[in-house]
Symmetry: none
Subunit: 286 residues, 2 copies
Amino acid sequence: MTGTLDSPSIAERVRASMARFTTTERKAAHVLLAAYPVAGLETVAEFARRADVSAPTILRFVGRLGFASYPDFQKQLRTELDAQSKTPLAKTPERSSAMRDGGAFLNTFAAAVLDNISTTFANLPAAEFEAVVGLLAATRRRVFVVGGRFTDALAQYLSAHLRIVRPGVVHFDGQADNWRDQLLDVNRKDILLVFDIRRYQESLFSLAAKAEARGATVVLVTDQWLSPIARHAAHVLAARIAVPSNWDSSAAMLGLVEALVAATTDRLWDSASDRIAAVEELRRDG
Amino acid sequence: MTGTLDSPSIAERVRASMARFTTTERKAAHVLLAAYPVAGLETVAEFARRADVSAPTILRFVGRLGFASYPDFQKQLRTELDAQSKTPLAKTPERSSAMRDGGAFLNTFAAAVLDNISTTFANLPAAEFEAVVGLLAATRRRVFVVGGRFTDALAQYLSAHLRIVRPGVVHFDGQADNWRDQLLDVNRKDILLVFDIRRYQESLFSLAAKAEARGATVVLVTDQWLSPIARHAAHVLAARIAVPSNWDSSAAMLGLVEALVAATTDRLWDSASDRIAAVEELRRDG
DNA sequence: CCCTGCTCGTAACGTTTGTTACAGGGGCTT
DNA sequence: AAGCCCCTGTAACAAACGTTACGAGCAGGG
């Protein structure tokens, strides 16, 4: 029964024969890989429901993978699960055949991103982080958020979340010229949170300088080399952004933003939970 | 709240009630902990044989743990397996109080994000990734990008980069109503790249369905549970998004997007390098 | 336009599984 | 030393499961 010839892992086999599957079988394949390996450990009916296909399709899927029966398939899945004790990525360092440069590229890229994030969080001063959370949780103060060419997406992402847990969140979007008008609105008790990474933008610098001049508290989220805005910032949070690519990676910075949002939400939970419920209500009606 | 405040993990529960077990039940407990959680995912008969006890003893064992049936026990086991990526921090029992301490919170949060990313990349079908890169590198085709409430930031991020290396990139932003007008412009040779994560948005679904009906190639970037849009998508890329927070994390999804941008840039390098230089020129002048 | 191929879901089948009643057996109490 | 009780495995039951035959639906080719 248990032939001891070590076949490639099921996940690999699925990825390799992705092209051979029919449309619905491919759906099953995606569901399995997305919720690996739990989806395959469920019953056929549950797996089928999860993938929105019929039970026979699941069986044809595992049949095409070379298994004589669904229980056989599950047994193999459990065997792999038992053998694996490393992190999923480290587990697949070299996928030899049928995997072109795509696999290698993805692995090195992922490794760089992971390294960025762990380094970023490891070097993050907890006190500085806490201080920024404290500012974001001060609901009486308004928060203005702005980003650069690529980091503006992060500014938007932060605003979209923060807006739900507290009032007074403004995202400076659009042309830099428009910021000047909104800047008139900024005063002593306000907070300006700026994203700026290398190829630092002059427009952001002048904005931050003016906001500071008006008495606002400036928070800077930047890369490890620190934007010149750091001179005008009360708090600085730095993230790693280098990856083997022509572009920089904002993944670590996004992780940082999400940590800020999570911590702020937690601190404001009493009032935030009501706001979230209210927002959901509005979304349902609208 | 944090979603992890359910009942304690099964492994913990087993260790806690170890004293209450009878002799043979304790045998089952040790076997389960030694081969956790695989032993519990097998059939009752196999579990019994492994522990060298009878099947009813296994049933009495899970009954004493508080489960109404063996399938219930297995379902809980799978849920835990899916939630925590198993090995790394499974031993830290009390994560609930971690929110208090800033440093500990950052560590657990970072660990979750890291795990999401490594799992996402490990389970990513290289062929599917390559196919999407191929689409994005087809400069004659136009690319329409759209996202949901929170993922729209990712759509914007992708657009901002893609727009530099190739022409014909359109970001559907603003109100969903406005999309309809721009949809008229979509035809057979176009590509629609949709971001949609849980609390899947109906507006995105109908947009994707209509785009597919018009003959466009739909690419979906979603979470591990797969948006219903998968039904209309030619290619699906799934990322992990769960973190110990009230919110989901898009960090893994951003890493995925950046990998797409990097690979596409690389493939288009001959033409892209000229474009990038030209864009830089414009920025310097402007 | 009809035909042929393949794909997919419905429904019924047979098997395995989880479950439970019951009786044998070992250990502690009296 | 005998009796009682709590375990524990054997065996029969019922439920759920995996499996398979069949036909509808659809796309490509003649």
